[in-house]
Symmetry: C2
Subunit: 228 residues, 2 copies
DNA sequence: GACCAAGCGGAGATGCCATCTCCACTTCCG
DNA sequence: CGGAAGTGGAGATGGCATCTCCGCTTGGTC
């Protein structure tokens, strides 16, 4: 809905509600921007207090504007989710069915790697009974069509299905989660490996685009994190 | 160290400390058993209070016997980790290098799927500066040898390394984590897929041992969970 | 330029939950 | 049977996120 660069600050609210005062609307935008950044970096678990301070407004303002975290999540991710769906639909137009699938696969993985919040919204699904759920449900059939097309072309193994896709992305997400500081692009290594597993057949392995962690990096990776 | 079925209840403690009174030792065993069960089912995050009640003893007893969760974790998992290491070392003796690797790969995945605590101890590594870290460090070279052997035999792709193994297991772990109640063996599907990615070459795909989730199951899977 | 509704900030109330202590009581064992 | 060892569990402690409240500021309107 909202275009990132929309030149129209006001309007947009539900009919019947009067528009926000200019300064309030400005703060609202700041909150969304701050939330976008913190969600991307630290996941949906960040506190509204954090977001408020990062936006340079008081906590009260945050709670006045967004009843709960849900509302803020929707305001932040509606765009990004739509974009991903669009991307899946465009991939169907790719000349080569396998390449269309593979590119979308990698592009999704990149989105999810770069935005922890997006990953949590679409793949962890906790934040459930919202508009986000509806978006997730639009993604699955688009992916399904991509898979079928590549299977009919004979290059994707026959036994994968639409629900496999998000679960595989979920698996890649955990690599990103752990290796974030040490090798933020490590996911590429495993996504290529998995794509090789998805091919109907192949002679040589596809070269992996990222080297393996060495033992030090591995230790650092394993030593991080507890929760999420 | 401790044999599960050891007929000798006492002894074993550090030299210089007198052995525990019989009832105390009994409670200690109960605590370890309860911890083993709860760690396996709900992960290392369970509270000592929970464990104590589950063991049928008071919380005070738990804290008197184990200074912190670490100590309890070690008492519970030393065995299991040793067993996994032994398994890796035995896999080197398998007649077929690839089969030795693949069997160990699947066996590990199964261990990790069936015991969330083990998974967290060996793959999440948070619980860091303990004897567990040392065990993790014994596992890596054993796995490395398995990989090299399969590569020399020409059936494992050349570009995988020892550190890839635990990261892949970590990825499988997240599937188990999410699908636990819906399809606890779903990891088999993805572990087979990944093994197909690890092969140096192949004609047809290996049949996947577990069907994909249907849309309902998928929704349930995604709807669970938040933390840990 | 003055008025007041709208908005602001942020200290602190509230609630939650895990860790760990303490001591009056019970049990073991020599 | 006596004293040392062990027990249990209520509650103290501390951390942490959510959300409220109200005295103060600001925007915009006449």
């Amino acid at each position: 809905m909202r275009r990132r660069t929309a030149p129209t600050p006001p309007a947009e609210s539900a009919p019947g509600t009067r528009p926000l005062r200019a300064d309030a609307e400005r703060n609202r935008q700041r909150l969304i921007a701050a939330a976008r950044e913190l969600f991307a970096r630290r996941g949906l678990g960040v506190t509204l207090d954090d977001i408020a301070h990062h936006a340079g407004v008081g906590v009260g303002t945050a709670y006045r504007r967004f009843a709960n975290r849900e509302a803020l999540v929707e305001a932040v991710f509606e765009d990004q989710a739509q974009a991903l769906i669009a991307r899946a639909e465009h991939a169907l137009d790719h000349a080569d069915p396998w390449d269309g699938l593979a590119e979308f696969f990698q592009a999704s993985a990149r989105h999810f790697a770069e935005d922890r919040g997006l990953r949590e919204v679409l793949l962890h699904g906790t934040h459930g009974r919202t508009r986000m759920a509806a978006l997730r449900e639009r993604l699955t059939p688009a992916v399904g069509a991509l898979l079928v097309r590549a299977q009919e072309d004979g290059r994707l193994r026959d036994d994968v299905e639409a629900t496999d896709f998000p679960l595989i992305q979920l698996m890649l997400g955990v690599v990103t989660e752990h290796s974030r500081e040490v090798a933020p692009e490590l996911w590429q290594r495993y996504s290529t490996l998995i794509l090789d597993g998805l091919r109907a057949e192949r002679a040589a392995p596809t070269p992996l685009p990222h080297r393996a962690l060495d033992l030090d990096e591995f230790d650092q990776t394993m030593a991080r994190h507890h929760s999420s």
